[in-house]
Symmetry: C2
Subunit: 329 residues, 2 copies
């Protein structure tokens, strides 16, 4: 018998989430039966989509959903021996009992000098999101100019680095001077702090006077409308997120994008990383290789202690830190 700590979603979020929307609950897990394994969480992943899909994936009273990197500590399943590291989307919990069907082993060639927690970041879902958004949705080509918003975020930072690997010019927008400095460090060609400029359109024009072939959209809000106005003819937009509107109680609206889209023959496509699951194994290897070669760097914001998970989640949503937010359990 194992005592598993879990964080329950007590109440659907109204506006900006509160710590009191969650409740810590301890449950007893039985020993694994034949075919089952017990895994122990090492790192929990905190991502904007936890806010976005608040009312879609679970009900009030369920364990908050989310991904984690865990270690097998008891096993009745040969595929997952004790000590093996897995990714599992079992939510905010310290221990998970599984029949193995929801477990994904971390790549067996994971290098010793790369933290396992990156399997929740640049070598995990956010990294894959960046890769698929660029390759599958935008289909970027060398020489093109790519704009990315929330560029210092877990996804955006990888977007910019892959753009450089592929010979594109990349322009990033972020919300602090420290983030802008980080983007320059990562190799972004241009970066600006959208909070301190007087005009979004002017900033976008200054960073790329000829406009943008591609826009990797993470934010919505006024930035979306400004970016739309700066797209080149036949431009493409990948809709990955809309962080600036997730916490709205009164929904923000935008001018209809129709005229701009039809005059300039723009394409816009919404996507989630789950669409290309069949490519994940190969894609993670490519991300790993780029990291080993030094072409892909990653920063993390680590909160220690399972008890601090809700607070860390709110901190992630506030967006003041640089890097991928995780909880070290």
């Amino acid at each position: 018998m194992v005592k598993a700590k879990t964080w329950i979603l007590k109440k659907y979020f109204e506006g900006f989430p509160k710590e009191s929307d969650f409740e810590l609950r301890v449950v007893d897990l039985p020993e694994p039966k034949d075919g089952e394994v017990l895994v122990e969480a090492l790192y929990l992943s905190l991502d904007p989509y936890l806010r976005l899909f608040n009312r879609d994936f679970i009900k009030e009273g369920d364990v908050q959903y989310g991904g984690q990197v865990a270690k097998v500590i008891q096993s009745q399943n040969k595929a997952f021996p004790v000590g093996c590291h897995v990714f599992v989307h079992s939510g905010w919990r310290t221990h998970t009992l599984s029949d193995g069907s929801d477990l994904t082993k971390l790549p067996s060639n994971w290098p010793k000098d790369i933290p396992l927690s990156l399997a929740l970041g640049a070598i995990g879902m956010p990294g894959l999101t960046a890769l698929y958004g660029l390759e599958e949705v935008l289909q970027i080509k060398a020489g093109e100019t790519v704009l990315v918003s929330a560029a210092a975020g877990a996804v955006g930072a990888v977007v910019g680095q892959i753009c450089k690997i592929k010979g594109c010019k990349v322009v990033g927008s972020a919300g602090s001077d420290a983030k802008v400095a980080y983007l320059k460090e990562l190799g972004f060609d241009e970066a600006f702090n959208y909070k301190t400029i007087s005009s979004l359109e002017e900033a976008l024009k200054a960073a790329s006077p000829d406009g943008y072939d591609c826009y990797f959209e993470n934010v919505a809000g006024p930035f979306f409308t400004a970016a739309l106005s700066q797209m080149k003819k036949e431009g493409r937009i990948a809709v990955c997120g809309a962080i600036s509107v997730y916490n709205d109680t009164t929904p923000q609206t935008c001018p209809f994008p129709h005229k701009t889209m039809l005059v300039n023959h723009l394409k816009m496509e919404g996507f989630t990383v789950w669409k290309w699951k069949h490519k994940d194994e190969e894609s993670l290897q490519r991300l790993l290789t780029w990291m080993k070669e030094g072409k892909l760097k990653a920063k993390e914001v680590v909160t220690v202690g399972f008890e601090n998970t809700p607070a860390a989640f709110l901190r992630m949503l506030r967006g003041n830190d640089i890097g991928k937010h995780i909880v070290k359990v």
Copy 2:
């Protein structure tokens, strides 16, 4: 010397256009020189895009732009002998002097029993718009369900009929019971009057409980948001027009489409017919063939007299008639 009557755009439109935004002006045209031809307008085309691009194509004081079917009445150019029928985008004018570079001959096999004016409608730009929107943008497949708004319009009516030719289910929305009856006559599977229903979403659900694979968008406004909510996973939207917002003085807005687009992996693409000009000749033959076979029908709203062109334009924008609006010069 020929006296050509022209309609000048005196003032850019503010809100709904007024007859006083135009001014009749007579100009003298010289005899055609070597290589030139003089054509006389037979029919002028009245289309929503004349409203949409009001400030984009011409300046105040220029002849109002637009397409026309004309007849060569004097020629110093062997490619365009006297008597030959052409399409020319020379605007609201009775006579045009041309070096031939802007003239397109009507298909030489144009059947005697098909009115030449249809070269401005189902066998012209609106018909091509429908065809390219369905084949190039939406890439419809037999068995799919297609939604089209402004379905009784010059483009929408062709959209519906091509959908049926290609084995799709087609649902049309229009603004009067008479239009709905016309859509049924054309073979639409479902049609409804959006002005007399209590809920757009419910009407869309009733017409296709499983949702829509494709949406041919002509209107914007609340219909767009409702349609977006009824798209199937991996649905496609072709943005052809936005008639409901063209005359806004205070721009209408819409909720950000991001979440719906990313959850359902929706694609949205703006287009104009001019993108596939290289295919026009072959495409017009296909439209002609369908018409000869009785698979494609067309209705026209004919205003007689060049003097009445502005009034006919306003009438077209009011949207109370059924069919493609033309002026018989």
